[in-house]
């Protein structure tokens, strides 16, 4: 069975993506507090939702990256076949 190797570079990259997703979710929470005129306490009390939204964004971003990777793979294979 083949070992899966996750490099430290890869971990750092994924960590940065998770951090960006968390910041985006945090900003969404702040904007929704302003939009719906709810108490500012929700910055703290709604951190659970922020984490859920972070995971949601990460999964969405992961899916988009996967689609991009598949497209690139197909494109590269076509280039190899045609010998360009």
């Amino acid at each position: 069975m083949k070992d899966i190797v996750i490099t430290s570079k890869r971990i750092k990259k994924e960590g940065r993506i998770v951090l960006i997703c968390f910041i985006a979710a945090f900003v969404i929470n702040v904007l929704s507090i302003i939009l719906y005129k709810t108490p500012w306490m929700e910055i703290v009390t709604q951190l659970g939702y922020v984490v859920v939204v972070t995971i949601g964004l990460y999964v969405l971003f992961f899916f988009l990256r996967f689609v991009w990777w598949v497209v690139l793979k197909i494109f590269k294979r076509k280039k190899t076949k045609t010998g360009i």
Binding site: N29, S32, Y36, T38, E42, T45
Partner: protein, 442 residues
């Protein structure tokens, strides 16, 4: 410990509760001008005096007033009048020292009486009110004002030329939750009033037991056109008064339909009415009353573009506060709704908009009473005790209650116009000859 249903007739406490003594005088004057006569100073002045009053009509509603009068420190019951002996006996049992009469004209000749409380069938109101004013008595009369528009106008005109006090028992005008609710409406809490929905549903035949068939029309007077104007004057009058109070103007026309749907027992008045009153700016009062299903109960809803005031239940709801969810929950729900619940076949504007859960706010905190609307006699803490107490004070001071007659006149006229629209099955405009100076139509 104070009993939950105990009637507190302390006018001083009532005025305190509605904020007169805490700087709310200006707002109170705009919303409830009739309360201007009841300042704490004026209450102090009459502390040792008593109004000598007589009750004409000692049936169930008359006895309800007697119970309240017995708890008013500045009232003394001196006489009763009724031509139905069981009612007279019941009143005497409550107040044995009072003189009794079977002819109200004889009672009016008694110089010891300052004011009379009239709680008779509607067809007697006009005659008795006019006679009592002519006899120099202050008058407190049950709602509605009278059976016909001509009689209402005659009472209004007579009142303009008398120095006597005249009250009609539109008790919501003295109900704390209605007063505070109106202050909120008039201060703009619910925004512009864009509609009014009032209904009164009960499941009761409105009949009373009759000891002899010859007494049918006397005891069940509410069921016959000769003595009653049915659901409109008995129930709607209160709610239409509330609508006039909230909008501070009068509808210019009315359409409606009325039928006997369920209680086909020989009665003449409708047991189901639906009436729409139309204001000059397009705002409408939707009024409905049905007495063969009580699911919806009794409600007075004032609809504003920023919120809804449900005065009968003592609650209000704000439009931009449709849920208690956090901001991010609301945002996610909104995104979810847009993604998953749109109906592409009919376009985004078509959505089955079932009622949302609104967060209720209470008009009066701690102590407020909600009535189930089932009683034909009266309810605790609905303002009846306070308006009676105010009348007794006015009997002593001789000070007329500002706008009280005008409010009763306007509400009764709308009831009678509603009946006319239902009878004629057509739109009825407010008649020019019955407009009075205090009425605003624009």
């Amino acid at each position: 410990m104070k009993k939950e249903k105990e009637v507190d007739v302390s006018l001083r406490q009532f005025i305190k509760n509605i904020g007169y003594m805490t700087g709310g005088a200006a707002l109170l004057a705009g919303t409830t001008p009739w309360l201007q006569s009841f300042t704490p100073d004026k209450l102090e002045e009459i502390k040792k005096e008593r109004a000598r009053v007589a009750v004409i009509g000692t049936g169930s509603r008359g006895q309800y007033h007697i119970h309240n009068l017995l708890q008013i420190p500045h009232a003394e019951i001196v006489a009763f009048c009724d031509d139905y002996q069981p009612s007279l006996d019941a009143a005497l049992a409550l107040c044995p020292k009072a003189k009794t009469y079977t002819d109200y004209r004889k009672l009016l000749e008694n110089p010891e009486i300052d004011g009379v409380i009239i709680a008779t069938p509607l067809n007697w109101h006009a005659t008795m009110v006019l006679d009592a004013l002519a006899a120099g008595k202050h008058v407190f009369c049950e709602k509605s004002m009278a059976l016909t528009m001509e009689q209402c106008k005659a009472i209004y005109d007579a009142y303009q030329h008398t120095g006597k006090v005249l009250y009609f028992c539109m008790q919501r005008m003295f109900d704390e939750k209605y007063i505070k609710g109106m202050q909120m409406i008039h201060s703009g809490l619910i925004g512009d009033v864009v509609g009014l929905r009032c209904h009164w549903f009960r499941n009761h035949d409105w009949r009373r037991p009759v000891p002899s068939p010859s007494l049918e029309r006397k005891i069940n007077w509410r069921l016959y056109w000769e003595s009653s104007a049915g659901l409109m004057t008995e129930l709607a009058s209160h709610q239409l008064e509330v609508c006039n109070w909230a909008t501070r103007k009068i509808p210019e026309s009315v359409i409606g339909t009325g039928d006997i749907v369920h209680w086909k027992d020989g009665r003449e008045v409708y047991d189901s009415v639906n009436v729409i009153y139309h204001y000059s700016d397009g705002v409408k009062i939707n009024y409905e009353s049905l007495i063969s299903n009580k699911f919806n109960g009794m409600e007075d809803q004032i609809l504003g573009h920023k919120g809804t005031m449900n005065l009968a239940t003592g609650k209000y709801y704000l439009e931009d506060e449709t849920s208690s969810k956090s901001g991010i929950e609301q945002l996610l729900k909104q995104i979810g709704d847009k993604v998953f619940t749109a109906v592409p076949a009919a376009g985004p504007s078509w959505r089955p908009e079932t009622k949302q859960a609104y967060t209720p706010h209470y008009i009066v905190e701690d102590r407020f009473h909600v009535n189930d609307g089932l009683s034909m006699i009266g309810a605790d803490k609905d303002g009846s005790d306070q308006i009676l107490s105010a009348f007794c004070q006015a009997c002593i001071t001789g000070e007329k209650g500002k706008n009280i007659v005008e409010e009763a006149y306007s509400a009764t006229m709308l009831c009678l116009l509603g009946n006319q629209a239902m009878a004629e099955k057509c739109k009825v405009d407010f008649p020019e000859e019955y407009k009075i100076p205090s009425m605003k139509f624009q």
